[in-house]
Assembly symmetry: C2
């Protein structure tokens, strides 16, 4: 059990004793819990056979479950940029034009990051005096100008990149962990991850950071936005000692159990502080399970096809739960087609902030869905880089391009669809279907196994017209942002992050030698 | 809403008015609801994305969910014979020796059926004055000596075989529908199924039969065993008009919705009669979803491999829920490895009847599981014909033989694993692995995609010894029953079932010309 500081405890008790209902005077608190590489099928409530997520299942029973929730990209950085800007990666610049239809992200050799021209959710929430904190993985660029405190967050505890490693700090530095605007250590050094045993306390640290932040804002009676983004389910997966070996699912399941337990503690903390009736909590994940990483290092996409890196359902359909006792009706299922970008628009809506009117926002305000279980008509677009690969309209998904990964890569053993193969669909060459799109009915065929042309389809030509109209409308308005993920340079890696001097942890960068990043898939 | 007869209503009201709590004087009522070809993944609570089974999900929330529940065979007749005898098909005779490792069942040209030497659950329950009724598909042989009323059931409404058709009654008769020991009509004649539209009222008829039977026994204060076996989810799937087109999943989903709604009505009926606290209800299915039948005619096996006809998880893991308000703790999940055969032993246990002591019973009494959430150590055996294909011990599944179907059949388009292919596992030749079994950890790898030899396995040789001991113990005790599913003959088909004379529906059989049935897979 994580303990609060004595000061916090006293403050909380005082607030309770004097009868104040903290948080009732201001806009609702907002907590977005975004998991890393967790799949749709990883939750008990979504059919994981081991049923080891009792807290998330309870959260669903107390809130609203979204079986048709999507990310904006099958890879982490673009997905996170989309969530915080409410805009597709092709608009906010989180894509590459180095090759056709490639997934790009922010490894530490990336030169780019989130553009200064983009307006992030925490920047907008400032208009209503929200205090914003990110706890966990940022992934929108690690160079100084791209860091969270430059883009609206007031506080940060976590890292700018994935926790890959350990590195030897000569060819490649270990990733720093920041406390606000300065580093406080590095992974595999001050923040241990035992890749061999899978042990790390990071989730517990992120939990304590979250509980403390919530307590502090409750006491201060300030509205807050907490962006809780732990990365324990991203390879190399980790869990703290208490959870290691506890799951039926192996190390990945241990990580899920620890996250589930932590989420249970956060929700319980809101209740104990009496602010649960004034807090919107949304749980989801950044992309599908990384099934190419094998059974020890990745999760489950349930009945869906393939996973991370692909625009099949396994890559982009996400587990999602909304929770707000007293506002969101308990135990409901919403069939709304929804997206991580909607969290931007919905957060603004509940906070009473208008979205920017000088740019296209792809996010939808889900308030009518959350509070009245309405259904809003909207398409879902599936992108890889700046290539729209597919679109979903209602139950129909229309693929214009299919690709898993290249034969070259596949033949080295990298398989984005292990155990699955749908001829003509999970292709190893980029296949264009623009003239005769592959159509699936996701209600009848969630696994994308039976292209609809192979059986009876009423009014096919009428349907094509409708889809074409939606796609043309989308493309007409589309002004691609400047691509941020084209250039790489070893000199920009995390050699000397801010704060390294005090810690004596500055490293010497090599000479700058930029190159066009190679994105193989 | 199905209406009861006026007499029944009056009786029920009278029972309630005079303050009697029907059923409290005798052993608990037992209801086994066995679905046909419904898959593990077809329930919302097991992750079907459309979440269209609110009544079953509620039943799980009020009862105990079994994610590790198995059938005894991946095909209907042997599975049903196993449920009612508590014995593996290889013991009770529901298998063939015509070829190696073949699935056999009871089409209407089958000569055999359930042996007179087998003792069925309703026969045993008579010792405690249970009244037993089967409503729906029997499938243990259609010749007179094999029918339900010859094997312990007091009442029957339903059919002896699958509802395939329509037939022209010259080459092949339509399947009869029985009311007790005499036919009352035939499918596609008195009992319509519109194969083109999918419309049929059969589920509503089975529902009404069930509600009426329950009412009658409640009024009479007799303990009852209701074996409710509707077949709407077996190809050709059907639903009544009110449900057609209502599901997001197409016609199959319509059938599931109607079954779900009917189950909700049955449970509500128990509550309204005040006998829910004295009734054990168990819901499951006879084998995995028939994924070879395509998206319009089959369901979902969730994250599992392949389906009906195979000994992969998709063929034999079943959705399962136990419900007994006040006795079974609500909202629990049991990880018990359990089997349809356990329903035999558990039913006897709760009724206070000893099982036969002159034969091996494979079923386990699940009472400690249901009432105390205990975990009992036991293996699960996966058979095809009389060949043990695989065994599960704990989380480990050990395949000694693998086969999906033959290349010849596969090349005609019959695919038992559509969209799935695991090299060396979903084989199209019968592959023996006895010397080096294929091992999967089903917790980490429920989809049987990663044979465990490909990554680290501690104490492999010790594990082999343990498995070998279990298998050898099993085989040492195994006395195969006389195979009942070897011979076929067109003369034995449902030409002139009992009662055909009164209805004028007797047909002339051809000359007897028996042959060894051909079981292609």
């Amino acid at each position: 059990k994580v303990t609060m500081s004595l000061k916090t405890v006293i403050c909380v008790l005082w607030a309770v004793c004097v009868g104040q209902t903290a948080g009732s005077q201001h806009g609702p608190n907002i907590i977005i819990m975004l998991m890393d590489d967790m799949g749709w099928g990883d939750l008990g409530v979504f059919g994981e056979p081991s049923k080891e997520t009792p807290n998330l299942d309870l959260m669903a029973a107390q809130g609203m479950l979204f079986p048709n929730f999507y990310t904006a990209n099958p890879l982490c950085s673009p997905s996170r940029a989309a969530l915080l800007t409410g805009r597709l990666p092709v608009r906010n610049g989180f894509y590459t034009t180095n090759a056709h239809a490639r997934n790009a992200y922010t490894p530490q050799e990336i030169v780019g990051g989130i553009s200064q021209d983009e307006i992030l959710l925490p920047e907008l929430l400032k208009k209503k005096d929200y205090v914003s904190k990110i706890i966990g993985k940022w992934h929108l660029g690690h160079r100084t100008q791209y860091l969270p405190l430059k883009h609206g967050f007031d506080e940060w505890f976590g890292s700018p990149n994935c926790h890959f490693g350990p590195y030897n700090n000569s060819v490649r530095p270990n990733i720093p962990v920041y406390n606000n605007s300065e580093m406080t250590g590095r992974y595999y050094e001050e923040f241990e991850i035992n890749v061999k045993t899978g042990e790390s306390n990071l989730t517990q640290i992120y939990l304590k950071e979250g509980l403390d932040f919530i307590s502090q804002q409750a006491v201060a009676q300030r509205p807050f936005f907490l962006y809780w983004v732990p990365d324990a389910t991203h390879s190399p997966v980790y869990a703290s000692e208490r959870f290691l070996g506890k799951s039926q699912r192996g190390r990945y399941g241990d990580a899920v159990m620890e996250l589930d337990g932590s989420i249970g503690q956060i929700l319980a903390h809101l209740v104990s502080l009496g602010i649960h009736n004034n807090t919107l909590v949304f749980f989801t994940s950044d992309n599908g399970a990384a099934v190419m990483s094998g059974p020890h290092q990745s999760g489950s996409n349930g009945p869906f096809l393939c996973g991370k890196e692909t625009t099949f359902e396994g890559g982009m359909r996400e587990p999602a739960i909304a929770w707000w006792p007293g506002r969101i009706p308990a135990g409901t299922v919403s069939y709304q087609l929804a997206s991580v970008m909607d969290l931007f628009s919905t957060s603004l809506s509940v906070a009473g902030v208008l979205p920017p009117d000088d740019r296209v926002i792809d996010g939808l305000d889900l308030s009518p869905v959350l509070f009245n279980n309405s259904l809003l008509d909207r398409p879902i677009f599936y992108y890889r880089g700046n290539q729209m690969m597919a679109v979903r309209i209602g139950q129909y998904k229309v693929h214009y391009w299919t690709w898993s990964n290249s034969w070259e890569e596949f033949n080295t053993g990298i398989n984005f669809c292990p155990g699955q193969e749908v001829p003509g669909v999970t292709t190893h060459t980029q296949e264009e279907h623009t003239m005769q799109p592959l159509i699936f009915h996701l209600g009848q065929d969630p696994g994308e196994r039976y292209p609809i042309s192979t059986y009876l389809f009423p009014d096919l030509s009428l349907f094509h017209l409708q889809v074409t109209a939606v796609v043309e409308q989308h493309q007409k308005d589309l002004i691609p942002g400047m691509p941020q993920l084209n250039m790489c340079d070893l000199a920009v890696m995390n050699w000397s992050p801010p704060g390294c001097e005090q810690l004596g942890k500055c490293l010497k960068p090599p000479e700058s030698n930029p190159w066009k990043c190679v994105w193989p898939h």
